[in-house]
Symmetry: C2
């Protein structure tokens, strides 16, 4: 960090280049601060379209954008790939894998990771989808399993390779299971003439009595109907009790033989060590005040999925969605400058633009305040909003082309296994192998 | 292989879905044979543009095309991902990782792999570029090294991370070193404001006295000039003696400190066990007769890079380029049908359409028979030919857009580290670690 050690201006360090972090950095452009953005990856990820990478409609680079390129015209901006392990709030130092980093103001925008609720088997065998690598893994594993199914002699042997179970009926689970069902309906028997679409099953498992529980009742009902029309087996009020890599079991005693469980049933905040457990609330989120300041801290802020701005109106804080992170990021950049300039600070107000989810071709649901609509027009709105939200002209053009070809031909898609997916050895299995070797 | 065990028609098994293998399969469409194509990957790779994936101009899916999708309208076609380990010529059986496979006619179209000429250090530390995975690895490692350089305090410490050495002055080495030089000239200081282009060095090392030795003298001279104009340090008549991951050494005593050696200095045929060493010639290629039949075999053929059709005119066989493989593939499909139908067979004649290589923006060399031209027009010819050769409408459109944006903005490119590159542990190192554990 040699180039940043001696600065004239206060240094704002942002941990995380997600929707929130990049808005803070952009908001500080041309201001009298030095901005240092840290992320484990060299790119921002457009998470709402991860499921299209997982199902092969889009290529990974369309939804990932290099952070350096994004900020190349911002002179007060520096980027480093770094893994931040801890925060020393007393000395205002970060402990990272690239050495200690000093901050004057710290923004924790580290987002959320998959929550397996402590179930180690699920954590090992079920596949999460929170970053591009994980989405590409799902794509590879999906294709590998179909190839593997073709090598089996009997339908019974094939079954676990052709059953795909998505757990979690939120927007991610709905969109993912819908997209897999479209692959089944339109692609399967074309690419694999030995298979009929009836050979493959797509399950969506949800613990609540409805999907899209955070949207309007109309949206929930319509989404469930659309999923069933696509052939998704929607299991509601069903709790997952276990998964051993071959069979997923439910609290009601049912089970499904499957090699592939995709887990979108929960997220939890992730952040470096050094934050008092007293201010960590449900979902592993850090409590912040209405200025996004971490409770009890002076110069440390948290925004987005990792932050819980608990108020009387919002006992659990804001929902973990991109617009909250973006609005908090823009707000915080201004507030930090107000603090530096000795001006009175303001309080964050969330403007809810609405929610939407797509289920499949011509099938989406949109809630905008009291305005709710579903179907063909909702689908076009969904596409337009997501296309325009992508970062980079190239990405918008390439995504548009992929979507257009897919819409016309029913047959776009990137069904490549480039990096074959293999589960890493499990810790206990590694130990067993080592002890076997030593016998 | 249940679905293929009982056939009425003779079964033609093709090992390898490269330029040659896919032409054989296409040529057998609607013929009274069953075609089984085997490949380790589920996609065909357009190898001539691998260097653009390595340098981030193109995304991997643009140059890879799923083999199942390519042949979905061919009813007598079956595909399996398989690694063929051996050929039992007596029983006409292949030994594969998905079980034994019977053939009536066998086409070995397994291509070539990187040749490190037995140097185990080079094999471990230098990076090859023969498939999409390896190209993506180069892209990641290139970006990782620049990020690493930024963490170093002194120019001396930075140097090995910012020196890039390409070994081999054939078309691949010329195109790769030219593309890296363009990244250096147009991108480096924009993405990494802490660095100047002078901080980075690109070397091209060739053992012969000229680059592009297989092209015309005019093409060689012009290519070298173009490379030098781009700032590539072209080292001719230089033999590599060793590389330890930190420093590459040459026979003349020179050395270059570098973390990155890209190896395009040689290829060799690769094929399953079971072929007599007596018919394997220079470059590990299998000798075939003028009907592409493996010498001494009745029903086994070899085409493309793995085959050496040695004649008085061509003591080393044909050059290892795509058009040879494609023409042999088309030829062989017809000859196999002639054999099956009891008609007289024909002999292969290669039609040389010429050679070309691109060095950088507006800079290419083209030899078509006695017609030779270089520069701006050659570059457009190169682009047009390669664009039209890509498989799939989507890939052509996306590649065109990437090239157009790159041409206009000097700033396209996919500079993402999605899968971080790490060298796998070396065998001896693994053993050492294990013995350390056991102490």
């Amino acid at each position: 960090m040699n180039s940043q050690q001696q600065n004239r201006f206060p240094r704002v360090v942002i941990i995380g280049g997600g929707f929130g972090g990049i808005e803070v950095a952009k908001g500080l452009k041309n201001k009298e601060v030095d901005v240092l953005l840290l992320d484990r990856n060299n790119h921002h990820t457009f998470q709402p379209l991860l499921y299209q990478v997982a199902t092969g409609t889009l290529d990974a680079p369309s939804i990932a954008f290099p952070l350096r390129k994004m900020f190349r015209k911002q002179e007060n901006f520096t980027f480093r790939i770094a893994d931040v392990r801890g925060i020393d709030t007393t000395n205002k130092l970060l402990d990272t894998d690239i050495g200690p980093i000093r901050y004057d103001y710290l923004v924790i925008a580290t987002g959320a990771t998959t929550n397996f609720f402590g179930n180690k088997d699920l954590e090992y065998y079920a596949m999460p989808m929170k970053n591009v690598r994980e989405a590409v893994n799902i794509r590879s594993f999906f294709l590998q399993n179909i190839e593997e199914a073709l090598l089996k002699e009997t339908p019974e042997e094939r079954e676990p390779y052709l059953n795909f179970v998505v757990v979690g009926g939120g927007p991610t689970g709905v969109e993912l299971s819908g997209a897999i069902a479209e692959l089944r309906n339109h692609i399967l028997s074309k690419d694999y003439p030995e298979l009929k679409k009836e050979d493959m099953n797509v399950y969506l498992v949800e613990g609540l009595p409805k999907v899209l529980a955070n949207l309007s009742p109309q949206a929930s009902e319509k989404a469930e109907l659309y999923l069933r029309e696509l052939g998704v087996k929607v299991l509601l009020n069903v709790q997952v009790t276990g998964y051993n890599g071959d069979e997923i079991t439910f609290a009601d005693g049912q089970c499904v033989k499957t090699k592939t469980v995709l887990w979108s049933a929960g997220v939890m905040g992730q952040f470096p060590a050094g934050i008092s457990q007293e201010i960590v609330v449900r979902g592993n989120r850090i409590r912040v005040d209405e200025e996004c300041r971490v409770i009890g801290m002076k110069d440390i802020f948290a925004i987005g999925d990792v932050a819980a701005m608990v108020t009387d109106d919002l006992p659990r804080g804001h929902p973990g969605v991109a617009p909250v992170a973006q609005q908090q990021g823009r707000f915080l950049a201004k507030n930090i400058m107000r603090i530096i300039n000795g001006q009175p600070t303001e309080q964050f107000k969330y403007f809810d633009k609405g929610s939407m989810a797509t289920i499949g071709r011509n099938k989406a649901v949109v809630d905008i305040g009291k305005v709710r609509f579903q179907g063909f027009f909702a689908w076009w709105v969904w596409m337009f909003v997501h296309l325009m939200s992508l970062v980079g002209f190239r990405n918008r053009v390439v995504t548009f082309i992929n979507w257009a070809i897919n819409y016309i031909t029913f047959n776009a898609g990137i069904r490549l296994i480039i990096h074959k997916y293999q589960r890493p050895p499990r810790y206990s299995e590694e130990l067993k192998q080592l002890s076997d070797t030593m016998k």
